[in-house]
Structures are given as C-alpha cells and as structure tokens.
C-alpha cells in the first residue's frame, strides 16, 4: 500500500479546502458560547425530579414545535430538549407498544420540508433531532432486548445516554444533586420514595426547559366575607371531586407550590374519608352532622362544620355495571405517567368487578374506534389484551369518541342497570367540538338519558382541569386526577363503589344565617359550586351526586354578633330581626333526589351555637381547610401558618387506615418548606 496516492490526495485536499468564512465563524462561535452559557444557567435552576422528567421533556418538545412553526429560529437549548425527547421516542414506541407519535412526526416532517432558504436557521435543531434518532437507533439495535426487560422508565434513561458506563456516573451525579437540594430545602427523601413512579433521573446532558404549561384550572375568586344582614342565605352544590388534591400533591412532589387556581379547598377536604355517623337504615340516604367549634386561626370567630355521610348500601346487592372506558390515545398520552399508568390503573379496577359486569373500551385519537366490544368482566384476559393494545398516536377528538362511548353504553344498559362512561385523558379536547359549552351540553343531555360520565385525568403540563371539571359535573360523575398508582388504587379500588353508585343526586346545601347571632360568615371553598338562592328549590338545576359511602364536608367561618373579629361596622339604621332564640346560628336545608327521581326531597335542621364539640374527624377537615387556604394565600388566616396546620392535622389523624392523612401532613411539610 503506497502512500503516494494518498499524499497526492492530501495535497489536493489541502489546496481545495477553503478558509472558513470569518462572519460565519464568528457567528458559530457566538452560538456555541450562547448555548454554553444557557447550559450553565440551567445547572443552578431546580433540577426536575423524577416525577417531572417525562412530562418536562414532553412540554419542552411541545414548546419547540410551537416555536418552530411560529418563528423559524430557536435557541439550541430547546433543540437539546428535543434531542433528549427523541432519544426516548423510538424506545418508547417499542416499549409501550407501537404508536409512532404521529402528530409530532408530522410536524417534524413539515419542518424538514421547509424551503432551503430557511434551512440554515433551523439546522441546529434539525440536526439535534436527527442525531438523537441516530444515536437512539444505534442503541436500539444493540440493546433493545435487554432494555425491553427492564422497567420502562429505566430503559428510557438508558436510551438517553448511549454509552452504558456513563449512565452510572451521570445518574449518580444527578441523584446526589437532587438529594443535596432536597436536604437543603428540608424535604424528606421518604416523600420522594413513596412515589411508585420513581426512576429516571434526568441525564445531566439533557436540559429540561421549564415546563410550558398549557394547563387550565377551574376556579373562582375566593368566597368573600358576607354580611349576614345583607345576604343571609348561602347556597351551593356538594362537590365530591378529588382532582384538586391530587394536582396539589403532584405540584408539591415536584418541588413547586401549586398555582393558586389549582387549589379548590373543598376538594382538598373531600379527598379524605371521614367517619361521620352513618344514617339509620330507614332515613334519608345520607345524614348531616353539624358541629360548631372555635376557629384555629381566629380566636374570635367560630367554624360551622357540616358533614354529610352517605349510606353504604349492601354491596352484594348492587346491579351489574356497564362500564365504557373512553381512552384518549392521542400522541401526548405517550408518557409513563399517562397511558402506561392508565393501563395499570384500569387493571387494578378489573379485579374489583363482578363476573356479570360488562366492560367496553373505546379509544379516541383523531378518529374514534371501539377497541373492545362489550365483554363480561369474567373475560379478564381479553380486557387486559385490549388495554395493552392501546397505543398513543394522533391528535385528539374528544367529541367523536364521546359519541361512540355513549352509544356503546346505551346499547349495553339493560333495565335497572347503571351505565357509565369513564373518560381517561390528559386533558386534550382540541379537535372537533372545540366549544366547551357544546360539549357539556351534549354530556348533560346524555346524563338525562341515564348514562353518567366520570373523568380521570392523567399527566401534567397539558391538563385541562377546567374542561375535566365541567364534563364531570355535567355528567353526574366525579373528576379525579391520577398521578400515581396509589391514587389509582384509592379512586378505582378503595372508593370504587362510591364512585360508581350514586345514592343521592343533585345534592344542594342552603344555609340561612341568623343575623341576630351571626354578624358575618364566609364559606370556605366551593367557589366553583355556588348556586343562586332560587336554584335551591329548582329541581331543574343540576348539582353534585353523592356516592355510596362517600362523605362530604362544608365549613363556614362565622363571626358572632359583638365579636371583636367583626370586620364590618354594624349599620346604624339596619333592622335586626331575631328568628327564634339567638342560640340558633342558622338553619341548614338540604335537597337531594333519589337516584332516578325527578322530584327532590328536603332535609332541614337548625344549627345551634351549642352544637356538639368537634371531634377528630371535624378537626382534621378543618386542618385541611386551613392548608388549602394557606395555599391560596387567604387573607383571613392572619398569622396562622403551615406549622399550625401540621400540628392540628397531626393531632387529629385518627385511625387513617389507608395513610391518606399521613400523606397530607407530609404535603403540608413540603409546602411549608417550599413557601419559605
């Protein structure tokens, strides 16, 4: 092998090689430096936890594509997020079964198809993507089998860093960093470990952009103080949703205080089961218990605690269930905290169904399709197989899927059977019926034909909490947010009966306060559930359902007449009417409908100032109410702090068989640290 040819070639090459264009050289160097600096900055920012990593990557990519379609150029840091994400994708597709991310893919192609003159502006991004694919491909070829046998999330982590030895090092670094920060902020590592979805420390070379939230929350301004002489009547619908608590938990677990609008105090309170006295067998399906107690955050006011306990009908006698799982399989569901968690959740639930119950599965993504025809729950293998076949891909058309799901449910329901659609989504209802009002009208119509709707939310970043709420409220169902498998267990196993068997419909609460005893009052929470005074007696107005064995709690803070805590001056010319003796703080009225009935029943009871002392159950509810208000920055709490809430909750944990209350205390501690 002579070197001559090669030497000739080398000389020629040296002659042919141009000098780099000085302008481009400077430009490229500047770009590199900019990216370098950007990368340094992100080292100081809070590193996303294991919980956020997948969704962080997702939102980063979403952001990238958003930016790509609007302005050609991007910061390359965003591209790196894309790189990190696309490392995951081919892997994820294989691991989580089929489903190329069609929507992302299309957009990628679009960007590739842009005319050549805009290409230079996009090159770093495109290159990063392609590189990600290339490296992931290479990795796949070698290690797919091994990766398949590993836990999904771990496999992703491997895929992110092609060279195995480096994984170890970087993982440790990431972990150590996380631990440092945790201890620095006083977090408890056990809080993190209690999450079942651990794993996937973020590889140090992938920058996760601060999540671009497209989340929408349903909430209204906090209930203001009402002056009894001006507005003595307070009316609201009960709320048995728990989504807000799970959202708050998910935010706190990833080291952020939740957005104030994400906190619906009544949902925080009603997340917990309370052991209020059960109704007697021949009474109304639920029993109100009223206690009046001192306010922990204000020595001069009192709290009126109203607890409704629903009866637990004999579970053995329940009619067969007809469930239609309506599952969002849009591309955005391809995330460990979404579709895979959804599968696991539904599988947990299957074990609790009876052989005579029937299950059908409808998926929606662009076009709706029935994945599983109505199948008896005894055929568990078939149902599981259908669940496993679900793959994420395509855009979302919630409405087409809804129509098919309702049609299926109606076909399934025989007389006396309960039909329910369980909608599982990460919150996208973008295509098709984009008008939320039209969508809720559709669901309300269907509710009247006897098919109810429950909504399960999965994943963060894209969650349309507002639409979820609207759909569930109009569908006579509950909205729950599933962030962990243990939450799935609570919603779909422990409280399945309550979630699926309403014992009372359209439950409305109305309290008339006695101006002679109460100067001012304030309802804690229930902002989104307020009803007009005249709606109370109007049976056409929809309200919340009470499930079997569920309890609902409402708390008023009242300022007695003459208390130094009164914020408004009494009117000089106002009339004071005294109804009965002034020991009566107010009058509680409840309306409900028996399931299937059109005419409501009325329950009435006076609220006495000497009403029984608050037990641990009520005190815990009050601690949670205080916690929720702290998260919303409520001005009426004064100096009352998280420490006080923790002390109060700790003292009233009660039996806590499922550990929910213990978890709540941990969340309070987390919030306390984060708020400092």
């Amino acid at each position: 092998m002579s070197g001559d040819d090669l030497d000739d070639l080398k000389a020629m090459m040296a002659d042919a090689t141009p000098r780099p264009d000085p302008a481009r050289r400077a430009e490229n160097l500047a770009l590199a430096q900019k990216n370098f600096d950007a990368l340094q900055g992100s080292q100081d920012a809070a590193r996303p936890t294991s919980v956020t990593a997948p969704s962080g990557l997702w939102t980063g990519v979403k952001k990238m594509f958003d930016a790509m379609t609007t302005k050609g150029g991007l910061t390359a840091t965003t591209a790196l997020v894309a790189a990190g994400f696309l490392f995951v994708t081919p892997m994820g597709q294989d691991l989580w079964r089929d489903a190329p991310l069609a929507d992302i893919g299309d957009e990628a192609k679009l960007s590739l198809g842009t005319p050549a003159d805009t290409a230079p502006a996009q090159t770093p991004q495109e290159r990063a993507i392609d590189q990600a694919v290339a490296e992931a491909d290479g990795y796949l070829a070698d290690d797919l089998e091994r990766a398949r046998n590993e836990a999904t999330v771990t496999a992703n982590e491997d895929a992110l860093v092609p060279q195995a030895p480096m994984i170890v090092v970087e993982t440790e670094v990431a972990d150590a960093g996380a631990t440092d920060r945790m201890s620095a902020t006083g977090l408890q590592s056990e809080v993190m470990l209690s999450e079942p979805m651990v794993a996937a420390p973020v590889p140090a070379d992938v920058i996760v952009q601060p999540a671009l939230d497209t989340e929408e929350f349903a909430n209204a301004a906090q209930n203001p103080l009402k002056i009894t002489s001006e507005e003595p009547v307070s009316t609201f619908s009960i709320d048995v949703d728990t989504a807000s608590y799970a959202l708050v938990r998910s935010s706190l677990m990833r080291g952020q205080l939740p957005p104030a609008d994400a906190v619906r105090v009544e949902e925080l309170i009603n997340y917990f089961p309370y052991a209020y006295p059960d109704p007697a067998a021949d009474e109304a399906p639920f029993r109100p218990t009223v206690t009046v107690t001192g306010t922990p955050w204000n020595a001069d006011t009192q709290l009126v605690h109203i607890g409704l306990q629903g009866q637990m009908p004999a579970v053995e006698d329940r009619p067969p269930l007809n469930l239609v799982f309506l599952i969002d399989t849009s591309g955005s569901m391809d995330d460990p905290t979404k579709l895979p968690l959804l599968r696991q959740s539904f599988m947990l639930m299957l074990d609790n169904l009876r052989p005579e119950d029937e299950v059908a599965i409808v998926e929606y993504a662009g076009s709706a399709g029935q994945v599983l025809a109505p199948t008896p729950a005894s055929e568990k293998g078939m149902i599981v197989a259908a669940l496993m076949q679900l793959g994420a891909g395509g855009s979302t058309n919630g409405q087409g899927g809804l129509e098919q799901a309702y049609a299926t449910a109606e076909a399934m329901a025989a007389d006396g059977e309960i039909g329910r659609v369980i909608l599982a989504t990460d919150g996208d209802f973008n295509v098709g019926m984009s008008d939320p009002a039209a969508l809720t009208d559709f669901i309300a119509d269907k509710r009247d034909t006897g098919t109810y709707l429950s909504v399960l939310g999965f994943g963060r970043g894209n969650l349309d909490d507002a639409t979820m709420q609207a759909l569930a409220q109009n569908g006579n169902g509950t909205a729950a947010y599933i962030d962990t498998l243990s939450e799935a267990q609570k919603v779909l196993v422990d409280q399945l009966t309550g979630a699926l068997f309403p014992i009372a419909g359209d439950v409305k609460v109305q309290v008339e306060f006695n101006p002679a005893a109460v100067a001012e009052y304030r309802l804690i929470g229930y902002e989104t559930r307020a009803l007009a005074r005249e709606d109370f007696n109007n049976d056409a107005v929809d309200a919340g359902e009470l499930g079997a064995g569920h309890s609902v709690t409402a708390i008023y803070e009242v300022t007695p007449v003459g208390s130094p805590a009164q914020l408004s001056d009494p009117l000089r010319y106002g009339e004071t009417t005294v109804a009965g003796d002034s020991d009566e703080l107010g009058f509680l009225k409840l309306r409900y409908k028996e399931p299937g009935a059109d005419i409501s029943q009325l329950l009435e009871t006076p609220i006495m100032a000497s009403e029984g002392a608050a037990n641990a159950e009520a005190q815990f509810a009050i601690a949670i109410a205080g916690f929720g208000q702290l998260l919303r920055d409520n001005p009426y709490l004064g100096d009352w702090s998280y420490a006080d809430a923790i002390a109060l909750a700790n003292a009233n944990r009660g039996e806590d068989a499922f550990g929910y209350r213990t978890e709540a205390v941990q969340l309070m501690r987390l919030a306390q640290s984060l708020s400092q």
Partner: protein, 180 residues
Amino acid sequence: MRMTTSDEDLATAAANGDGQAFASLLDRHYDRLFAFCFRLTGARVEAEDLCQDICAALPSKLRRYERKAKVTTWLYKVAVNAAHDRRRRQATYAKATTGWGDWETARTAANAETAQSIDWLTQAMGQLNDDLRDTLALVLDDMTHAQAAEVLGVSEGTISWRVSEAKKALRALREMEDAQ
C-alpha cells in the same frame, strides 16, 4: 497561560462550567474542525452549516466528555455524528419532496457543471460512499488508522480496508477520466 493549557484540561474546565475555557478551546479548534467538515461534505456552505450544527450542540456534548479520549478525537466523533445526521435529514428531505426534488437536483447538478466550481477532487470524494468518505476525511487529517477507528467506532482493520477501497475507487476514477 491559556495558550499552554492542554486541550484536555481546557475541555475538563469547560465541562465544569468555565466559559473562557470553552471559548479558548473552540477558538483553537474551529479552523481545523471546519476543514474536516469540508472534507466530509465537499462544499463550503455545507461545511459552514455543519459547523453551526456542531457548535450549537457542543456545550451539551461537552458534559459527556471524558478525559480518556483526546479532545480532537472526541471532537471529530461529534463532527462525524453530526454529518451523519445531516445526511440522514437530507435523505429524508429528498424523499419528502420526490418529483419536485428530482427536478431540483438535476437543475443544481447542471448549474454546478456549468459553473465549473467543483474540481476533480470534490467530485471524486462525492462518488465515494459515505463510509469511505468519512474515513478518508479523517486519514487526510494525519489521523492514524487507530485514531480514525476510534472516531468512527469501527476496528482498525476496517479503516485500513476502507482506505485501500477508497484508493482503488479514486484510481479507477482517474483512469476513467484519463481515458476520456
């Protein structure tokens, strides 16, 4: 001080967040990197773009730099990967625009010929397949076969074989041209 610091020390410092070290390192290697990109791509504009790709991604890549490799070897590895990605994307682009793309390709080729801006060398390089071209691009940079093997992630024997294949192809090309 900086001038005498080794590439590897600079790279380690840069990986730990030293912005000056990063700037010095890149400044020191940019021209050589550009020349390498030119050999990989065979066109100045392409080489500039490829450099831009590499520069954009380099800061994050640097975090994975380990001292066990020479900076140049490591840098070339990054460049080769970037070039692969570019080719892959261009293949996708060509596929996505079939029809229109064919016409465009033909038109560009005609332009190129009339402009006579491409000399024999780049044409020759263009006729080699990607593997051979990558290998030559490295070997022509005074890289040993062992180093080239490390960059491309293949065995040294493969490099030697590729070099002789490339030589064969170039010789054949030259003979064909001479015959004309």
